[in-house]
Each structure stands twice: as C-alpha cells, then as structure tokens.
C-alpha cells in the first residue's frame, strides 16, 4: 500500500503501490524499501555554535520490519524519530513512506499524516492525565473522525490485548509504570498506523515489565505487518529487532558497526542485532 493525499479533506488515503504520486509530485527513488531515509541532515543552533546532529543519514526499511536504533544520549536518536514522524523537518534529505515524500508536505499535511498513519510510544508515556484509560486509547480514533461508539469498539479489544480492559475507566495516575506503558502502546496502535515510533519505551520500567511491553509491541506491530522503529539503549532489546541501526556522531550506520564507546555489554552492534 502507498498513500495519496485527498485534496478535499487533506486526509491521506491508502492506494495500491505503484499508483502515481499526487500532490507534491515527488516520485520515489528506484529503491524498493517501504520507508526510505535519503541523505538526512539536521543541525541545531546553540548560541554561536552550530551542532550537527545528523549528517547525510540514509536507511531503508521493508514493510513490517522491526528496526532498533541504538546510540548514546544526545546522539540524535530522538531527532531522527522527529524527522521520520514529520514533527521536525530535515535541513537536507528526503523521507519517503510508500510513494509519499514527507519533506514535501506542509506542516498541516504532516500533522494530518501523523494523525492517520503514525503511532507514538514515548519514554515518558505522555498519557493524557485527565482522560481515562479507555479515552486515552480512543483519542487517536476520535481525532481521526470515528464516532465514540466505533472508537470504543476498536479500543476495547486492544485494551483486552494489553490486559487492561478491567481498568478502562481508571485514570492513568492510578496505574503502575508498566500498566501505563501498556496503555500507551494500545493508544499508539488504536488507529491502525502503518508505523509505530517508540522512544525508549521501556526506559522507565524494570526488566520484567520492559520485556512484557516489548513482547506486546512486537506482537501488535511486526506480527501484524506494521513497521516499528524503536530507540533504545538496551542491546538486549535491540537484539529482538529485525535490523539494528547505530547512530553515533551524526552518522547512521546499519549493524554490523563499530562498537560505540557507550556499549559495554556487547562487542558490537552486530552482536546486539544477532546478525
């Protein structure tokens, strides 16, 4: 499936792969990857200094792939997620999802694209504290225009899948960290996105809870044919991914790569990826 812009609603509707791209007029390069990052560069101005976070980063992910992104703090992992989700724009380069070039879209188009096709799992959860568990999960559906009834019908099986249906009417602050992360996972998947971005989703959890959340993410994304791009510091978690990318000093490199200094428990990224 590829995506095309609906000129009347600015919504993005799935169309068969190979259909001519409309709107921005960009045609994808000849590469076959479903998600393609082409020569992405990003730098931030910090006082008088320009700090380069990404430098000509390129990567391709096939449909349904689980990709882990490793890198030290401040290496630009979150920046890369921001670019892939269309939250931020690169200084140079292109981001393709199917036939669509995110970098050619306006801010509003990217927002609507995100609403429809991208799910987020944040490190700090970012559940809406004034909405119940069920309302948090139905939020992306209702934002997409679903009725309350339809949203509820879609959200309840997900809550059941994460084992929290009985806590549907509870507010997030009554849940444990692991439970909250499971709600966040359900929310990220509620609107059936094509890509789930997870920024250290187990960073605040103990080992067992982290493993459970990852099992869940894996089951509901890769096994359901969706793409999962996960930022993590844990080589153990990364070892479950289909592919591992390392980000260091602005360079994005697919494993096997040179072991960066922050990884002490493994010899190299390739080991981490089990390649």
């Amino acid at each position: 499936m590829a995506f095309q812009r609906n000129p009347t609603t600015l919504g993005l509707m799935p169309t068969p792969v190979g259909a001519p791209a409309s709107g921005n007029g960009h045609q994808p390069p000849s590469a076959p990857g479903f998600i393609r990052l082409v020569g992405l560069s990003k730098a931030y101005q910090e006082g008088d200094r320009r700090r380069v976070v990404l430098e000509a980063a390129s990567a391709e992910f096939a449909r349904g792939e689980f990709v882990a992104l490793l890198g030290p703090s401040g290496s630009g992992k979150s920046t890369l997620l921001n670019l892939v989700s269309g939250i931020d724009r690169p200084d140079a380069g292109e981001i393709w999802m199917g036939d669509w070039d995110l970098t050619g879209m306006s801010e509003r188009e990217r927002t609507l694209f995100r609403r429809r096709h991208i799910g987020f799992v944040f490190q700090f959860l970012n559940l809406i504290p004034i909405l119940t568990v069920l309302e948090n999960v139905t939020l992306p559906l209702e934002l997409g225009g679903s009725s309350v009834k339809a949203a509820r019908a879609s959200a309840e099986p997900l809550l059941d899948a994460v084992g929290l249906l009985d806590r549907a009417l509870t507010y997030p602050d009554r849940l444990s960290g692991g439970e909250q992360q499971r709600v966040a996972t359900a929310r990220a998947l509620a609107h059936d996105p094509m890509l789930v971005l997870a920024d250290e989703p187990t960073g605040n959890l103990d080992e067992a809870a982290g493993r459970a959340v990852l099992d869940l993410l894996d089951r509901l994304t890769r096994q359901a044919g969706k793409n999962l791009l996960m930022v993590t510091h844990s080589t153990e978690l990364a070892s479950r991914a289909d592919r591992v990318y390392c980000l260091h000093a602005g360079k994005l490199q697919e494993a096997p790569c040179e072991a960066p200094p922050y990884i002490h428990s493994v010899v190299s990224c390739s080991d981490a990826a089990g390649i």
Partner: protein, 606 residues
C-alpha cells in the same frame, strides 16, 4: 474542535478549580466594576433627563435671569406687551422635609392657568383630563377634581405622586414641613398624582408640586421667578429675537436643548473618569486572566506536545485555549453582571451624591437594569478575556511536538525573549511618554499614554527581575547558605512562570500607589489652598440642601449672635453671588473690607 479536545479542555478546568476560579474571579470583578459604573452613570444621566423633562415639559425656550432669577414683571410684559400666550412662570428649587426622609426633593411652583400647554400634571381626570393621546410619558394622568380645587384655593397646598406619598406613609390632608435656605414652612398635601408608568413614576419621585405663590413663599422668593418657559413655533425664528429685545439686561432667552446640554457637559468629564477607572479594573482583571492562562499553558506544554505528536493541529490547540477562555469569560461575565448590578446599587448612591455635591441635584436611588449596560459589560468581559488569552493560545499553538519527546526548550525560548521584551518596554515608554506630553485635555489620549506606560513597565519586568535576582543572590547566599542561593535561582530559572505574576503584581502595586499619590497630592493641594484662602476657624452659611455653596443670605440675627458669642475674637461678614456677564459667570463678593469681582473671587465668610 473535535470531541476529545473539548473533553480535555473541560476536564482541565474542572480539575483545577482554584486556577479556574481565579480566572473567573478576574473577569467577574472587571466586568462587575464596568457594569456597576455604567449602571450608575446611566441612572444619573437618566435621572437628570427625567428631572429636566419633568420641569421643562414641552417648552422650547426658557427666559432665565441672574442668580436671583427674574422679576415677576418680566412675565407680565411677555404676556401683555409681547402677546406671548404659551408662557409659563416657574419657581423651582430643592427643599427637604422630615416627612419625606430629609432627602433633597424638587419643589416645582407652577401657575395652574398657564400650565396646560407645558405640563399636564395639573390636568383634571375624566371630564377635565387631557386626552390620553396628548399625554407625555413623563406626565401623570391628572388629579381628581376636588384635589385640584383645593390646590387652587388653599394656601400651602402641595401635590405629591402617589408612590412617593405611599413610600412615606402620607395621606391627603397631612401637613408637610418644607425647609429651604434656612427657613421652614408648612404645606398641606391636598391630592395625589397617579403616574401612568414606571418612567413617569421615576420622574415624579423627586417632585413636589405647588402653586407658584406657595413655592415663592416656601423658597423666600416672593415676587421672583426662576425662569419662564416658552413654546415658540419653529417657523417663527425671529420671535426669540423680539422677545430678547423686551428682556431686562440681566435676563436672556435660551433654547432648552442648549441649557440641558450645558448641564450634561458639566458631568461628562466626571463620568468619563469613572468609566476610565472601571476600565482600569478590567485591565487588572485581564492581567489576572493572562497570568492564569499563561500558567495553564506552561503547565500543559508536555500535553500539547503529546497532542501535536498524535496529530492535533495547531489551530485546534489554539481553539482549545480560546474555547476555554470564552467559557471562562462567559461564566465570569455572567457573574460579573450579577455582582455589577449589586455593586451598582451602591455606586449609584455615590455617583449621584458626588453629582449633587459638585454639579446639581439628581434624585435617583435605584438602578434600572439597562440592557445595553449589561451587554457592554458582558462584551467587554469576553473581549478582554479573549485578548488576554490570545498570547497564551499562540504560545500553546507554537509548542513544538518534540517537546513531548525532549523536555528542554521553554526556558531557552523565554530567555531569548527577554531582550525583545525589554526593547518593547522601552518603545512603549517612549510612546507612552509621547502621548502624555501631548498638550491636550483629551482623556482618551491621556489614558492611552498611561496604558502604554503601564504595559511598558510590565514588559521591562523580566529584565529587571533577572537583574535584581542576580544582585540579590550573593546577599541571600551569604545570609541563608545554599537555600539562599537556590531561592532566587529558582525564580531566575523558571522565568516563564515567574515573569507574568511579577509583572501583574507590579501593575497592581503601581496602580495602587499611583492612585494613592494622586489622591493625597490632590488633598494636600486643597488643604494648602484652604489654609491660604480661608483664614477663619469657623464658617457659617445658610443651610443648603446640597453641599454646593449656598446662595441664600444669612439672617442678620445670626451675625449678631455669632459676634456676641463668648470666645469669638473676630467675625467678618461676606456676601458672594454669581452674576452673568458677557465674559461668562462672575463671582461678586462684598465684605466689610471691599468688593471683589472675578471668575474665581475668593470668599471669606465669618
């Protein structure tokens, strides 16, 4: 706005009752003061209009004299020599009566035989009454025939409106003591006027009707008239000129509109000042709203960031904040209107008392709920809230979604804005100073200058706060150790949250000090002036219904009593009257030492 966002906005307000309450209170107080002052102003204006209307009736012109009015002979000349039929003599002034609550009430002395074309208070009911189609809104339907007969024939006969008599438990036949300019007389209530509607009731609420001779006796003006009402046909413009030629030197003919317009202008500045002060209250309320709104946005930045990540558009976030603001504005304005009506009851007494003391007497004790005043209050409340919320809404709209992923950024942004804010403050100060130095008495220009200066200082607050805290830090550190260093640094590092409350507090304190200084300096000037001008220890004058200077002479026996009073070292007498002149009103003051004439002739009474 989508349903979940409405839910998020609503629940935020409900879950933060103190914060929401503060915002509602801010707008409610602002709107209440505006509504109260507006109601009081409009009540005073309406009372003035009704009072003018009740006295002037259908007259188009008036012949007026100097401070002592007109000689009756002028009326005779107009009727006999000029053949003006539509002319009615009037004697009118304020009296008090213990039977009527000792409040100022207008005694209107009329000639019943000349009245018909002007006012129909004295039209008999039924067979003798004026046709309803001719009745004016301020007219009563008339008086029973037997009361009218008593009014014509009985000395000291007076008429009151039925509601006024009822308010004080007076019945036909009761005797009423009337006090004016230090003299007391007794009248008899011979009949009651029955107002047709609330408006005429209001007009007659402050009115005692008497035959002109009775009024002259009560007011001590035998042989004098206050003015003569005339109805001159519009097509005969030259008639006014011919009448003017017949008048003595101290009398003149003036159109009714010009006379009432001049009186209305006298109070216009006073009312504008009150309105401006009520708007200042609204500005302080706006700061409160801005402060609370900004705080709520700062508090929810991660939430907005998360929502943006989930695909919520900027305009939806802006609509969420403005929607909350409108809801708060609606509740605050409704409460404000309620408070305003209550406050207006008190304000109308203060406003009318001030107008009575400084300008002329208006008798109004109630505020009529005026829809335009309420709408104005509500509209101002809503507009003020939306304006106050616009900047926080913009701030929320521009929250970067990545803030949900990274927690830094806000304070950096605020710190970057400090020099810009200070620059805006300097520009505001220059503009404000420019407005204030414009040589004009236009209140709008002056208030614009004051407003600009106030905002300019508020914009300078972040820079000043940083500077002060930096200077304070070594001192507090030395005094209180680590905690002493932490406290100022906390304010410093959280400038996004602290700058606005500091600015709001600064505005509130500076306005309080400013108004206090103004009042004190005004009082000081008056005291200095009084000390330089008035040399006596005690001043005695004929009593007056209002606080304005009495024009009535003192009884010579009072002067003798005062002079022979034990302990009185010296007593001087002084007579001061206002007289008309081609240059305008002049005060002529005469004492044992000489005569002063001038627009501001100082008077010493002893």
């Amino acid at each position: 706005m989508s349903r979940p966002l409405l839910k998020i906005g609503w629940r935020y307000l409900v879950r933060h009752p103190w914060q929401t309450g503060l915002m509602v209170l801010g707008i409610a107080l602002g709107a209440a003061v505006v509504v109260a002052i507006d109601l009081a102003n409009s009540a005073a204006s309406r009372a003035f209009d009704l009072s003018t209307d009740a006295i002037a009736g259908r007259a188009t012109h008036q012949v007026v004299g100097g401070p002592r009015g007109l000689n009756e002979a002028v009326y005779t000349r107009l009727r006999v020599e000029a053949g003006i039929e539509a002319a009615a003599p009037v004697v009118v002034d304020y009296v008090t009566s213990p039977q009527l609550g000792d409040r100022p009430i207008q005694l209107l002395g009329l000639d019943p035989f000349a009245e018909t074309p002007f006012r129909s208070y004295l039209a008999a009911t039924s067979a003798f009454g004026a046709p309803p189609s001719r009745a004016r809104s301020s007219d009563g339907p008339g008086v029973p025939v037997d009361s009218l007969v008593a009014f014509f024939t009985r000395p000291g006969a007076v008429l009151l409106s039925e509601p006024l008599a009822k308010e004080f438990g007076l019945r036909v036949g009761d005797r009423i003591t009337l006090a004016a300019s230090g003299r007391q007389s007794t009248g008899t209530l011979v009949g009651l006027l029955h107002p047709q509607d609330a408006l005429s009731q209001r007009a007659m609420q402050g009115l005692i009707l008497a035959d002109i001779a009775t009024a002259q006796e009560v007011l001590g003006r035998v042989g004098r008239l206050d003015h003569i009402d005339l109805i001159l046909p519009e097509q005969e413009a030259s008639l006014a000129g011919r009448i003017a030629a017949l008048l003595p030197q101290d009398a003149r003919i003036v159109p009714i509109g010009a006379r009432t317009g001049a009186l209305a202008q006298m109070t216009a500045a006073f009312r504008t000042n009150l309105t401006a002060l009520s708007l200042l209250a609204l500005v302080v309320g706006m700061f409160l709203i801005y402060n609370s709104m900004t705080f709520s946005v700062v508090q929810r930045r991660p939430l907005f960031g998360a929502l943006r990540c989930l695909g919520v558009e900027r305009r939806e976030i802006g609509a969420l904040i403005l929607g909350e603001a409108v809801l708060i504005a609606g509740v605050g304005s409704v409460l404000g209107i309620g408070f305003g009506i209550l406050l207006g009851q008190g304000a109308v007494r203060l406003v009318t008392q001030t107008i009575n003391d400084l300008y002329f007497v208006v008798t109004v004790r109630d505020t009529a709920i005026s829809l335009p005043s309420l709408l104005k209050g509500a509209l101002l409340g809503i507009v003020a809230t939306v304006v106050s919320a616009a900047m926080p809404a913009w701030e929320a709209m521009t929250v970067q979604p990545r803030l949900a992923l990274s927690r830094s950024g806000l304070e950096d942004k605020v710190w970057r804005a400090v020099p810009l804010s200070a620059l805006g403050g300097v520009i505001g100060l220059v503009l404000g100073a420019g407005f204030l130095t414009v040589p004009t008495r236009n209140l709008v220009i002056s208030y614009t200058g004051v407003f600009l200066v106030t905002i300019a200082f508020a914009l300078l607050v972040p820079l000043a706060t940083l500077g002060l805290l930096r200077a304070l830090q070594p001192v507090t550190g030395r005094l209180f150790g680590v905690l002493g260093r932490m406290a100022p640094r906390n304010v410093d590092r959280a400038l996004s949250r602290t700058a606005v409350p500091v600015a709001a507090l600064m505005v509130a304190v500076s306005v309080t000090i400013g108004v206090g200084l103004m009042i004190n300096s005004f009082r000081g000037t008056v005291v200095t002036w009084l000390n330089q001008t008035l040399w006596g220890d005690v001043y005695i004058s004929a009593p007056n219904v209002t606080a304005a200077r009495s024009s009535a002479p003192l009884d010579p026996r009072v002067v003798e009593v005062v002079r022979s009073w034990p302990g009185v070292v010296k007593a001087e007498v002084l007579r001061s009257v206002d007289v008309g002149s081609p240059e305008g009103s002049l005060a002529v003051a005469a004492s044992a030492g000489g005569v002063w004439v001038g627009p501001n002739a100082a008077c010493r009474l002893a």
